[in-house]
C-alpha cells in the first residue's frame, strides 16, 4: 500500500544534483518521480526509482546520506478540482500533508501524486472509503 521513497541529503553546492543523477544512471536505475526541496543551505532530494536496493547502495558507496521513507501514491482525477477534492478530504480528517509531488508520466495516462502524510494508515483507509485509488508499490515500480 505504501511506496518506498528514497531521500538524499544534498548541500546547496552546484553539481551535487547532477552527481546523484549520474550515479543512478550508471547503476542503471530509472527515476520515476523526483522532487527537490531546498533551503538556503541544503536540499533534500526525494526520488521514486525502479530499484531501491541498487539505488541506495550506489549512492551510499559514493558518500551520500540516503534514507527510505514510506509515501502514498494516489490517483488524481485529471480535471480542475481533482486535487482539491483529495486535499479537503485529508484536511477534514485532520491528516497533515508534509509534502507532495507529481509522478512523471506520459500524457494520457492517469495523474498520480505522491504524498508524505502525518498518518498514512488512516489516510489510506479514508481514501479507499471515498473511492480514491491508492496505488501500491509494486505497480509503481513496474511503471
Amino acid at each position: 500500500m505504501y511506496i518506498e521513497q528514497i531521500s538524499v541529503f544534498l548541500e546547496n553546492k552546484s553539481g551535487r544534483l547532477a552527481e546523484v543523477t549520474g550515479i543512478l544512471a550508471e547503476s542503471n536505475v530509472n527515476i520515476r518521480a523526483l522532487a527537490l526541496a531546498d533551503t538556503s543551505e541544503f536540499g533534500v532530494l526525494r526520488l521514486i526509482v525502479d530499484d531501491n536496493q541498487r539505488a541506495i547502495s550506489a549512492l551510499k558507496a559514493q558518500g551520500f546520506a540516503a534514507g527510505k521513507t514510506n509515501v502514498v501514491a494516489v490517483e488524481v482525477d485529471d480535471r480542475p478540482g481533482g486535487l482539491h477534492a483529495i486535499l479537503s478530504l485529508l484536511h477534514q480528517n485532520r491528516i497533515n500533508v508534509e509534502y507532495m509531488y507529481a509522478f512523471v508520466r506520459q500524457t494520457g495516462q492517469r495523474a498520480i501524486m505522491i504524498f508524505r502524510l502525518s498518518q498514512p494508515e488512516k489516510a489510506v483507509e479514508i481514501l479507499k472509503e471515498n473511492q480514491i485509488a491508492v496505488i501500491d508499490g509494486a505497480e509503481i515500480h513496474a511503471m
Binding site: F42, R46, Y99
Partner: protein, 413 residues
C-alpha cells in the same frame, strides 16, 4: 636597568610565591592531593626557577573542582564570583575576596596608567556581554585612577559613536572587532575623526593584526594599546603595552609568568609541542593558581624594555596552544560544543567548528555537522528543528552568534 630594583622585585616575587604556595597547599584540597616530592607537606620552592618542579594546573581540573573546590578561603570571605560558560554542564567560576578586588583595581590601574590614562580622562567601555566581568574590572580600575567612566552598556554602533562624540570620551576600552566596526562605521557615515576627543583606545579580549591596528588608529585618530588577560580565570590586564608598543609587560608584582613546552594530545611523538604561557598568581587570596596553563602560545622578549620597567615582556603567537577558540573574549570549549550537540540530537555526529567573520567584521561561531543516516530525515522541518535545538542551546550558554551548517560527508574530507 637598575640591578637593585631587579633584585628587589625578585625578592618580592619569591616571598609572594612562597606564601601563595603555602596557602594554596594548605587550604585547597586539589593542591594538597598533588604528587610532589614534599607530599604531604606543602612544597618548598627555593627559587623562582625551582617553581617548575611543581605540577601544572589546567582548565579541566578547575572544571572538575566546581563549585568551591579551588577556593582557598572560606566562602564567607568571597565577596564576588565571576562566571563563564565553561566546558560542559558547569560554568567556570572564579572567586574574589575584598582584598582581591583591591588587587585587581591596582592591576588594572597599572595597565591603564601605562596607557597614559589619568584622572582627567573620560573612559568609555564598550565590551561584549561575554566580557562583562572585565567591564567591571576596568571600571573599578579606572575609577581608582580618578578617571570619569562611562561603564559598559550594550548599545548599537551608532549610539556608541554618539556617546563617544557627545561626551568627549578620551579613552575607549573595547575589543579589536568592535574597534574595527566603529572605525568602519565612522568612515561610512563620513564623520571626521576630529569630532571625537579620543586619544587612546585600549584593545582587549582578542589578538589583533598590525594592519587592523593601523586602520583603527587612522580612522579614529587615536593611539591603540594592547592588553592581555584571561577571560575566565582570573582576569584582565595581566599583560599590557607601554609607550613603546613592543610586547606585553607582564604585571609581575601579581603574576609570575613561565613559558613551558607543552603537548596537546597524549601522543607526544606526533606533536612537536607548543611554548605555552603558564601563570602563577602571587597575591590572589580566594583563588590562587599555581602554574596555570593559559593555553596561549607566547615567548619572552630577549631584553628588558626601554621604558625602564623591570617587568618582563611577552609576545603572543597567533595560534593557541590548546583547542579553545575565543569569540569576543568568550572562550568556546570543544567539550561544551559537544555537550550541546549531544543534548540536542542524542548522539554525536562528526563536526567541525571555527570562528568566522561577517561582513560587518563581527565574529561568530560556525559549526558544521555531518549528515549521515542516523541524523537524516526526509523532512526539512525535522532537520531545521534539530539545527535550531543546537543553535538555541549554544547561543543561550555562550551568548555569542552561532551559525550551524549541515554538511555532506564529502565536506569533511
Amino acid at each position: 636597568m637598575d640591578p637593585s630594583m631587579h633584585n628587589e622585585m625578585r625578592q618580592l616575587q619569591l616571598e609572594r610565591l612562597q606564601s601563595t604556595i603555602n596557602r594554596a597547599y594548605r587550604n585547597v584540597q586539589f593542591y594538597q592531593n598533588q604528587p610532589t616530592r614534599f607530599h604531604p607537606d606543602p612544597p618548598v620552592v627555593e627559587s623562582l626557577d625551582a617553581l617548575n618542579e611543581l605540577p601544572l594546573t589546567d582548565r579541566k581540573q578547575l572544571a572538575r573542582n566546581y563549585p568551591y573546590g579551588m577556593f582557598a578561603v572560606p566562602l564567607r570571605d568571597v565577596v564576588r564570583i565571576h562566571t563563564a560558560p565553561g566546558s560542559g554542564a558547569h560554568p567556570t567560576v572564579s572567586g574574589y575576596t575584598r582584598h582581591d578586588l583591591k588587587m585587581w583595581r591596582e592591576i588594572v590601574s597599572t595597565a591603564l596608567t601605562a596607557a597614559e590614562v589619568t584622572a582627567h580622562d573620560i573612559l568609555q567601555i564598550a565590551l561584549d556581554p561575554g566580557l562583562a566581568n572585565w567591564a567591571r574590572d576596568y571600571k573599578d580600575g579606572a575609577e581608582a585612577i580618578g578617571a570619569g567612566v562611562i561603564p559598559n552598556t550594550v548599545l548599537s554602533l551608532s549610539k556608541q559613536v554618539q556617546i563617544l562624540k557627545d561626551y568627549r570620551t578620551s579613552v575607549l576600552i573595547t575589543t579589536p572587532a568592535t574597534a574595527m566596526q566603529l572605525a568602519g562605521y565612522v568612515a561610512q557615515i563620513g564623520y571626521q575623526p576630529s569630532i571625537f576627543s579620543l586619544k587612546n583606545i585600549i584593545l582587549v579580549g582578542e589578538q589583533v593584526e598590525n594592519e587592523q591596528r593601523r586602520l583603527v588608529e587612522e580612522n579614529l585618530q587615536a593611539q591603540t594599546w594592547l592588553h592581555y588577560g584571561l577571560t575566565e580565570v582570573p582576569g584582565p590586564a595581566i599583560g599590557f603595552e607601554c609607550e613603546y608598543h613592543n610586547g606585553l609587560h607582564v604585571n609581575e608584582d601579581h603574576f609570575f609568568p613561565e613559558i613551558v613546552r607543552s603537548h596537546q594530545g597524549e601522543n607526544d611523538s606526533q606533536d612537536a609541542g607548543y611554548d605555552e604561557l603558564v601563570l602563577t598568581t602571587l597575591t590572589t587570596r580566594a583563588f590562587p593558581l599555581v602554574r596555570f596553563r593559559t593555553g596561549e602560545q607566547a615567548c619572552f622578549a630577549d631584553e628588558l624594555c626601554q621604558c625602564g620597567r623591570p617587568l618582563r615582556k611577552i609576545f603572543r603567537l597567533s595560534q593557541r596552544a590548546d583547542n579553545l577558540v575565543s569569540i569576543s573574549g568568550v572562550k568556546v570549549h570543544r567539550e561544551l560544543i559537544e555537550f550541546h550537540i549531544v543534548n540536542a540530537l542524542n548522539f554525536l555526529p562528526r563536526y567541525r567548528y571555527c570562528i568566522s567573520h561577517g561582513n560587518d567584521g563581527g565574529g561568530y561561531l560556525e559549526l558544521w555537522i555531518e549528515v549521515d543516516e542516523t541524523f537524516f530525515s526526509d523532512e526539512i522541518k525535522v532537520l531545521e528543528s534539530q539545527i535550531n535545538a543546537i543553535d538555541d542551546r549554544l547561543r543561550e550558554d555562550l551568548g555569542i552568534p552561532v551559525a550551524i551548517r549541515l554538511k555532506e560527508k564529502i565536506s569533511f574530507k
